[in-house]
Symmetry: C2
Subunit: 599 residues, 2 copies
Amino acid sequence: MLNYKAPLRDIRFVLHELVEASKTWESMKSDWDVGEDMVDAILEEGAKFAENEVAPLNQSGDKEGCQFNSGEVTTPKGFKEAYKKYIEGGWPSMPAPEEVGGQGLPKLINIVMSEILGSANWSWYMYPGLSHGAIHTLMKHGTPEQQEVYLTKLVSGEWTGTMCLTEAHCGSDLGILKTKASPNADGSYNITGTKIFISAGEHDLADNIVHIVIARIDGAPAGTKGISLFIVPKFLPNADGSIGEKNGVACGSIEHKMGIKASATCVMNFDNAKGFLVGTENKGMSSMFTFMNSARIGTAIQGVCHAEGSFQGALAYAKDRIAMRSLSGVKAPEREADPIIVHPDIRRMLLTQKAFAEGGRALCYYLGLQNDIASTSTNEQERQEADDLLAFLTPIAKAFLTEVGLESANHGMQVFGGHGYISEWGMEQHVRDARISTIYEGTTGIQSLDLLGRKVLMSQGEMLRKFTKRVHVFCKGHIDTENMQEFVEPLSKLNREWIDVTTKIGMSALQNRDEVGAASVDYLMYSGYITMGFLWAKAAEVAYAKLEAGTDEEDFYKAKIQTAQFYFKRILPRTQSHKLCLEGGADVLMSMDVDHFSF
Amino acid sequence: MLNYKAPLRDIRFVLHELVEASKTWESMKSDWDVGEDMVDAILEEGAKFAENEVAPLNQSGDKEGCQFNSGEVTTPKGFKEAYKKYIEGGWPSMPAPEEVGGQGLPKLINIVMSEILGSANWSWYMYPGLSHGAIHTLMKHGTPEQQEVYLTKLVSGEWTGTMCLTEAHCGSDLGILKTKASPNADGSYNITGTKIFISAGEHDLADNIVHIVIARIDGAPAGTKGISLFIVPKFLPNADGSIGEKNGVACGSIEHKMGIKASATCVMNFDNAKGFLVGTENKGMSSMFTFMNSARIGTAIQGVCHAEGSFQGALAYAKDRIAMRSLSGVKAPEREADPIIVHPDIRRMLLTQKAFAEGGRALCYYLGLQNDIASTSTNEQERQEADDLLAFLTPIAKAFLTEVGLESANHGMQVFGGHGYISEWGMEQHVRDARISTIYEGTTGIQSLDLLGRKVLMSQGEMLRKFTKRVHVFCKGHIDTENMQEFVEPLSKLNREWIDVTTKIGMSALQNRDEVGAASVDYLMYSGYITMGFLWAKAAEVAYAKLEAGTDEEDFYKAKIQTAQFYFKRILPRTQSHKLCLEGGADVLMSMDVDHFSF
């Protein structure tokens, strides 16, 4: 049985010391009450809620799963009560602006809370988590009336939201969707079609569910240029905002899945359901892109959640479980064997988890702060820079962190040996729950094409250079710092190599477009390791500074430097295989005839 | 729903063309009726049985799982009937010698059958598969009476066997086991203790179950030097061989696991159960080592099973599912989008699966043939060489193939996108079932220590050199073969590097024993990629020879060469990260204080 504790010390390290969030927030809005103490107080309360109310439902929720019966979904025992307390605590409204009933707090605080709640119980967190897509869409593109009727209820958490995109035959390629919208005389639309994989599409936590549905209006162009967005509420609200008649949308079934079993994944049937256009006709795809980055950071954090949760379990076990003696001599003579944490390979797995959890946290918060700058700063240049950085780093964060999160969950299981395979320990659930994260919200393959094709090559390398310039400035700033050489020397070398590798791919892509797809995933992982290396080097810089200034937390800062050293020596060299593999090129992928893959 | 087809063409390629098994068998025993046609006929029958009787129970068995009720285990619907047909077909007795009722066929044929049956349904195959440990133990160490009473029934499959090693507090470190054996006046022992994770410990497929139990005789030395082996039958046989009274052993519960749910993983309680010593007192551990290699090859093949099974599912899906257009231009203008097999990254995943399935098959059969040589050859030197090769390559095969088998299963899921996460497609089951394979029968960490510590360094590199010499001779033989340069050039470079890397580790281990554990897993994976590279280069050699000689299967041999090219360009470079990571050394693993892993 796992026992999650929010890693508040490390969260404070990243927020206050590494990315210096409060300073940035206050520099943008001097009257913003988001000082470090205020933030800490919020997170301490949030941690208590997550640890005491949400985490205890994680394994029981997995075991029980959701039940489906004649269109209704029952969530596991305790989910409803925890959600009620979550609303009562005012948690859902944190990031929304005050004019729609929100608390106007920085979005990054919400990202931190999503890490804490998601580590405690990812399946449970998906119910409130999914509302953010609908909230964002209505905030950006809803009419004042739509905001009044729907947004305030979503912000308070009384109602929840969904994003209904995928259909059975299309997920990555939404241009071929079949759901139709037929205009009615009153300006509304009749929506007909079937959506699948709709998380929180139906459940018993809230009074109403607001579906944001993509569909094609009769006569609209084919492909992504004919897609529009609609609000389709489960119950149509009355004029006074109260809940009215049932709409023509119903859950047809829920999926049996590998993991996130307590999160209802629904088939949603729309049968002439009444829908209300959001934004402009046929511009649905571009409206959706406005919230893509934050949704992707929201999934990137899942990598951190499973790395952290699995690390906590594995660390406790490795200290307790005994097997064999240390190769370098007996370490626990009073016991029949040494605790397995004495063994180098067990430490390799634990440190890998730790480096990915803490490094991933750093990347998510770093990105989250750019997100706040992009939406809050009054300085146009600053905003644009943050926006560019966000566009470049988001696919890296989403794909890289979910991949290494899954790897970390697997390491945690491996530390447990055979016991890791047994459900009661909770370690295999992390692996099963983590497994979806590299698929939904854009697969690793899709993120990689976005990074290499759309962001890097389409900008002629400009977006990449903006980031490598930051890395370069950082490294240059430490050209004479002796204890930083072990970080900045390999980092600046890789930083130059990154440009070279990119240029080479760009050149070969001019000859053959398939070179982009052939290189993409290796390129993304390569970029991810360097990006995380930059953040680990920054973490070491901060830790050295604290140690030099004098601190009563020497152990904490020393461990931070040790983890950075581990990352640089034992993780960062993975870049080299990704580089060599992508240099292997497209020919060996494309030459085989489709019919010759098997005989 | 997956639909497994035994890849008989590729199996024949490896057996007859790559390792030339029949030739080798017949060279050792000229009257052995194991020609290629004979082998093919057996495997065709076996494939039919696996495809028609065993594969259809795979997903239903996973869904239903095993039921436990008052000490009794009920296997999923259909398992019992399939097992009955399996016995009737004479399949269990293939590899055993004729004097105990076996068919005296080469063990490699049994390995091939275990691949076919295990790919069809790994959980089902575990019931007969587990008997081989007991059979081997009794064959080597049983008295003639024990062989008469137990072995013949195990060989016929009427009874099944188990190996009862693990206890709740020890798996990798059996020296600290607690199960006791107290001698009785009649020469038997009373066995008392609890064993866990006993696969097929209790079930409804056979009339009796023969447990091979390790325990410590009263007064025996502590550690591994005081461990003895016992036969503990579920029912004590009468003098005439018929089933007598129930013994004091009972299943206490079965585990709820991530996968292999149709395989009963039992807690076995021994309460003064009557046991019969096998072999010599206190020599149990060394008796067990005699069958360790074959048991490990038996698990290595699980990597091949999941790579192959998942590949078959993903390939069919990738040809059928459409999404987006090829980056290099429309490929299926008649459809709304192109089949996803046109996308380079989908091909990268499919080819990775294919390369690991076929390369893993080659490695398992290559090893299996060494196993046959070691047990059958009358030439002492040949036997010794085979034995050394077996000792060296077995930990590589077990750990490397299960790791890349798991990776392959994950690629197959990824090709399916969101659908891969849904149970009905069967792809996520491959991932869950594969996940145990890197843990049981010695974890990847344990295999890696065995390889680097016990095999390579303890032999002063001798065992490694014996293998690299084979690789060297192969490469040298193609020094002037133009079309082989793309293989032998990188392979011979790596072959030399392998020695250098090993020497370096050996040197640093002299200073610090922890360097062995710190390098071990990266070293094993590094070795695995090279070993598989050698076999892919050999496969290409054979394919080129066939093409040059003229063949009506050009497409098959060309695809073989293309897959080898893919492996060399896009997989083999992974060696370089493993090399760099292991060169990162032990210090960054060992320096962190146990209490500083988290704050």
